[in-house]
């Protein structure tokens, strides 16, 4: 009774188009829980299912199909399946019920008890009774889904049906227009072809699918069908090329489609032809080879679109790769055509003739045209197989060599060499040397031998580059060059890279080719090329520009191949440590080493290489600089070198795990601890060498993980000693290194109490060691503030308050305290940075901004001019390191201060303030609109003045940039009143003594000039 009531309600709901999901759920629950059986449901539906009225019948089938779809497998009795299948097969002839019948059958096919015989019955009924194309999309989709399910779950039934299945599918698909259905149907074709022998019905099925070629489809935005033009194209392509039976029918029309005017159709036809080579018989291609090659040639020569050319050449390669040789080439004039063992003198035609005849004609003509295209076609044909490569090489290379022997015209020589390079590159691609190459080896070597009669100037650089490419190909050719010959070839390339050419493209190309070779011939490069680079580098007299070129080339070669990396690095380290380089070159070399290490650590699994890099690069460099420090080299040069080595240390050391770091730290501490904790005082010799090396010590300690235990007895004592040294030393290097270590250690201490204790120890020892409130004390607090603010420790803000107090109380070190704010937030190479595992809490900058800026604003109202200036310095230093998102929040309060900063500060700070104002103009122009004409523009105009000392080049440039922004961001009426003044000021700035300012002023001038034009 319950079921009957539910069914009746459901049927009424269907009539009203209301939501029946609740009723459906109840029906399904009822049957699943066993309260009612499927039979009862059918009985309840009886009057509907057997009704004379089509709509009642369809509603009945609808309910049954929905329930079957929702029921779990176990709720459908096995014996019921047979009855249901019979019922539904019979109902397939009832057009109004078909959509629901198909849904129900799909639900049944999934059941394990659904046998192959049922599948056959269902499919027979489907193919016989249902004209699928007369139904709407959803029904057609269910029908295709049914086929897919049968193929997936009961492939044997499809096999058993054989031709009927194929024919039924072809009829079903015939006339399909919906791309979604087509996509599914196309995907079914290869599955059917794999399952059933489609020989008898190949034509039927081919006709049904090929009529869609070339398929185009424009996906509408937001279309949920989620099919793309590309996927549809690929599905059709795989359908067309899925069976060898389609070959005969497909290839000819495809070839004719390659002459289509639409680029996409042309490319599609080429790609489908290439895809067909995997399944179609070679014979079908052989029949159309001549027109196909003709079309490909036309496209390669004439097409302006690279995609067409690529598709055409790939097709050529694919087709030739399957056409088996029946005979060899018999190109007239080719000396090799009779010596080939496979030669068949009776049949003078070869598939490659279509390519070769035209190429030979072009190559023997007085004027060689389209050498690049001829070369590319030859290359595509040659790389199709090793045999074809031999045939092409045998036919072309002797002709090119002969022609090269007889011509002196450099442009012709270049074009011939270009063709030769393409053919040789095919040999490298198929990894087999053509036989003719051995015979013509001497000639080939002569062709590529550097010709001293050709000047090394720009006009001939193409010839040189072509020659270098040829040499590279000879090196890459398998088993071609002897060891000595290869060495000579590599030397030629290396010389081209090292020696100064008028056209630096030759150098670049040679370097590029060496980089390519270093991947396949690392041993030879190491043996021949690297020594040449190293000896060139050792020539102390060479110009700085050349050194940088050599180092860049070496760096690129080293980074490109892992086998060469270590030799390059070792070689560079050896050159540096040998002391043969002039100091600037030495610095450049160490800098290259650092860049190489940074590049490989980013690119590869850095941690595994770091041990090796430390022992082979960082340690020798550190030892060397330790020995040489204080000797003849200048103090400045050494400090720069130390800085570079320290950066290298950071790159490697920070990537070690904490245990390895600890191991390396022990000798380092032993070496430097005494130096670091002994203050350098007035009495000592100035610029003590060991003190100069302290950045090495600091960088290593700062690169440690927070969990790495420093090998010192008592951390607080160590920090205290460093602090005491920092405030008493005369050496700036020692002071900075001490502060860096203190900040890093304090920042990485995870326990807040311990952190606080360490900070306090540093402060106490500093106060003890020297009179409080010296410059060093101020700096110590700046560094401690950096360490603590970044990890959001509240003590950091105590330091900040102390510093602000120094500023407002106009203490002697107020300026230093203000400038020190750049330490708190600014970048640093190693101390408290993300790279060196510093503890940097999210939103720490935001918190700093929110805390400090209100204090600054309130102090600014009451402070004297000197205090104001320092507060503005603090503000600028705060603002310049803030993310834009933070800064724009409440920016209107800061703008007046920034304007005062522009008025009162100079140099970098003034430029930073102008930049911030410019940023506000970009991001939120309305905020400053009121001050624009009255304050901002006049201030910017004054900042353009080159005569005062306050406006550095940087200030003048940023002022020009800011002025250039205004016409873009404000409408004419807003700025119209000030236009004349700005143009006058910018006209003066166009005659600035610095070129960069002139450039920026010109840009701004032209923007203001065109203001209001549109």
């Amino acid at each position: 009774m319950v079921v009957q009531r539910l069914v009746d309600a459901y049927i009424i709901g269907l009539g009203d188009n209301s939501d029946n999901s609740e009723l459906l759920e109840k029906l399904i629950d009822c049957i699943t829980s066993g309260d009612a059986s499927l039979l009862e449901l059918v009985q309840a539906l009886g009057s509907y299912l057997a009704s004379e009225e089509a709509s009642r019948r369809s509603k009945g089938v609808h309910v049954l199909s929905e329930v079957l779809k929702g029921l779990p497998e176990t709720a459908i009795p096995i014996q019921a399946i047979s009855r249901l299948v019979q019922f539904f097969c019979a109902r397939l002839s009832d057009a109004t019920c078909v959509p629901y019948v198909l849904t129900a059958i799909n639900a049944l096919v999934r059941l394990p008890a659904f046998s192959s015989q049922y599948s056959i019955d269902v499919l027979n009924a489907l193919f016989k009774e249902v004209h699928v194309q007369s139904f709407q999309y959803s029904t057609r989709s269910t029908a295709y889904q049914l086929l897919e399910l049968v193929i997936q779950n009961h492939p044997e039934s499809a096999k058993q049906m054989g031709d009927d299945f194929v024919l039924g599918f072809a009829q079903m698909l015939d006339g399909e227009k919906d791309p979604r259905s087509l996509s599914v149907a196309f995907q079914l074709v290869p599955k059917i072809a794999a399952l059933v022998d489609i020989k008898n019905n190949a034509e039927d099925i081919f006709d049904v699918i090929f009529c869609y070629f070339p398929i185009t489809f424009k996906n509408r935005d937001g279309d949920p069908s989620a099919i793309s033009a590309e996927s549809l194209k690929a599905a059709l392509r795989s359908a067309i090329t899925c069976s060898p039976y389609f070959g005969e029918m497909a290839v000819k029309p495809l070839v004719s489609k390659t002459s289509a005017t639409a680029t996409s159709a042309k490319i599609d036809a080429f790609e489908t032809l290439a895809a067909g080579t995997r399944t179609f018989s070679p014979d079908v291609y052989r029949k159309v080879l001549e027109p196909l090659v003709e079309q490909i040639r036309e496209d390669v020569f004439m097409s302006s679109e690279e995609a067409v050319v690529d598709a055409a050449l790939e097709t050529l390669e694919a087709v030739y790769s399957i056409i088996k040789p029946e005979s060899t080439s018999s190109v007239p004039g080719s000396p090799m055509d009779t010596s080939d063992p496979i030669a068949d003198t009776n049949d003078s035609s070869s598939p490659l003739d279509y390519v070769l005849k035209e190429a030979v004609f072009q190559l023997t003509a007085d004027e060689i045209k389209n050498s690049e295209q001829v070369g590319r076609i030859l290359r595509a044909a040659a790389r199709s197989s090793q045999y074809n490569c031999s045939v092409v090489s045998d036919a072309v290379i002797p002709i090119v060599i002969e022609r090269l022997d007889s011509t002196e015209v450099l442009t012709v020589r270049r074009e011939l060499m270009d063709v030769l390079n393409h053919v040789l590159s095919a040999s490298c691609d198929v990894d087999r040397k053509a036989e003719c190459l051995e015979a013509d080896k001497i000639n080939l070597l002569n062709i590529y031998r550097p010709d001293s009669s050709v000047p090394l100037d720009k006009e001939y650089s193409f010839l040189h580059i072509t020659r270098l490419k040829g040499i590279t190909l000879l090196v890459l050719m398998p088993d071609f060059l002897s060891v000595d010959e290869m060495a000579v070839a590599l030397q030629t390339l290396a010389r081209a890279s090292i020696e100064r050419n008028e056209d630096e493209n030759v150098n670049k190309e040679a370097t590029h080719l060496l980089i390519q070779l270093s991947q396949s011939k690392p041993e030879q490069i190491q043996a021949v090329v690297l020594p040449m680079f190293f000896s060139a580098l050792r020539e102390n007299v060479i110009a700085v520009q050349r050194v940088s070129h050599l180092l860049n080339a070496l760096g690129a070669i080293g980074v490109s191949a892992s086998k060469i990396l270590v030799p390059v690095l070792n070689g560079l380290v050896e050159i540096v440590t040998s002391g043969e380089l002039a100091p600037p070159h030495c610095l450049a070399t160490v800098s290259t080493i650092r860049k190489m290490i940074e590049a490989i650590i980013v690119a590869r699994d850095g941690a595994s290489m770091c041990h090796e890099l430390i022992s082979s690069v960082v340690s020798p460099l550190s030892d060397w600089v330790h020995q040489t420090a204080g000797k003849s080299t200048g103090e400045h040069a050494i400090s720069l070198l130390v800085l570079e080595i320290a950066r290298t240390t950071v790159s490697t050391f920070s990537n070690l795990d904490s245990e390895s770091q600890q191991q390396y730290l022990e000798p380092l501490i032993a070496r430097y601890q005494a130096v670091a904790t002994t203050a350098h005082t007035e009495g000592a010799e100035s610029g003590s060498p060991h003190i100069q090396l302290l950045p090495l010590f600091a960088s290593a300690i700062c690169s440690c993980w927070p969990q790495t235990k420093l090998p010192v007895d008592d951390l607080a004592v160590f920090i205290g000693n460093l602090s005491a040294v920092a405030v008493t030393t005369n050496s700036q290097i020692q002071r900075d290194a001490s502060f860096e270590i203190i900040a890093s250690v304090v920042n990485k201490t995870s326990d807040s109490k311990q952190r606080s204790a360490l900070a306090q120890a540093a402060l106490d020892r500093a106060d003890h060691a020297a009179e409080p409130c010296s410059l060093a004390h101020v700096l110590l607090r700046n560094w401690l503030a950096r360490a603590l603010v970044k990890c959001s420790d509240k003590r950091g803000y105590e330091m900040v308050s102390w510093l602000l107090e120094q500023i407002t109380s106009a203490s002697p070190h107020a300026t230093a305290a203000a400038e020190g704010f750049s330490i708190i937030l600014g970048d640093h190479d190693w101390s408290v940075t993300a790279q060196t595992h510093g503890v940097i809490k999210v939103l720490s900058k935001q918190r700093f901004y929110a805390t400090v800026v209100p204090q600054l604003t309130s102090q600014f109202q009451v402070g004297s001019d000197a205090v104001k200036t320092n507060l503005l310095v603090v503000l600028t230093n705060t603002v310049r390191h803030m993310p834009k998102s933070v800064l724009m929040n409440g920016v209107e309060n800061v703008v007046p201060l920034l304007l005062s900063a522009i008025r009162l500060t100079d140099g970098g700070l003034k430029a930073a303030s102008i930049r911030t104002i410019a940023m506000v103009i970009i991001e939120s122009p309305d905020t400053v609109q009121n001050e624009l004409v009255s304050s901002i523009v006049p201030l910017l105009i004054t900042s353009l003045d080159q005569n005062g000392t306050k406006n550095s080049v940087e200030v003048r440039r940023t002022a020009c940039d800011a002025l250039a922004l205004i016409p873009e961001k404000y409408i004419y009426p807003v700025v119209q009143s000030t236009r004349k003044d700005v143009l006058r000021a910018l006209t003066t700035a166009r005659d600035d003594r610095k070129r960069l300012v002139r450039q920026d002023a010109t840009k701004a001038f032209n923007k203001w000039l065109s203001l209001g034009d549109s």
Partner: protein, 158 residues
């Protein structure tokens, strides 16, 4: 002037090889005065668009760094340009574009001469005269249509 019908339909287009000067050490030293040099002038005019084609004067080799002569102390600049074909009726317009660009960019102290490169145009003298006659230039710039065309050509040069 009918600019829909092109005087030179298929001009030779050259690869642009000009590299930026890069930042020099002295660039930020305020004590060193950077004199205006041909490279700086070339930088100002090389990106002017040709009136006929969507290509720059540099791409068409109409302007060339070697054909610019600057004498900063004497406040004199001479720019020679090469029309793409000898009968190019756009020569005067190209010259005018260069003049206007330099007028709006170079310091006012400079006297600028614009000339067609010798032997590259059939009415060379006539064009040169036109380009270096202050009154004629001023009159041309009062023509709003012409000024629009010039501004379009200069839009890429900023």
């Amino acid at each position: 002037m009918n600019i829909t019908q092109k005087i030179n339909d298929a001009p030779q287009v050259y690869e642009v090889v000009t590299k930026a000067r890069g930042v020099l050490e002295t660039d930020f030293d305020d004590d060193v005065r950077d004199l205006v040099d041909p490279e700086e002038v070339y930088e100002l005019i090389r990106n002017i668009t040709d009136p006929e084609h969507p290509l720059t004067l540099e791409q068409l080799h109409v302007t060339n760094k070697e054909h610019i002569y600057v004498d900063d102390p004497s406040n004199h600049v001479l720019v020679e340009f090469t029309p793409t074909i000898p009968h190019c009726s756009m020569a005067a317009l190209i010259g005018l574009c260069i003049r206007v660009r330099l007028l709006r960019s170079l310091p006012e102290r400079f006297k600028v001469d614009i000339k067609v490169r010798e032997g590259t145009h059939q009415s060379e003298t006539h064009v040169n005269k036109q380009l270096n006659d202050k009154e004629r230039v001023a009159a041309a710039l009062e023509n709003t249509y012409l000024l629009d065309v010039i501004n379009q050509c200069l839009a890429t040069a900023v």
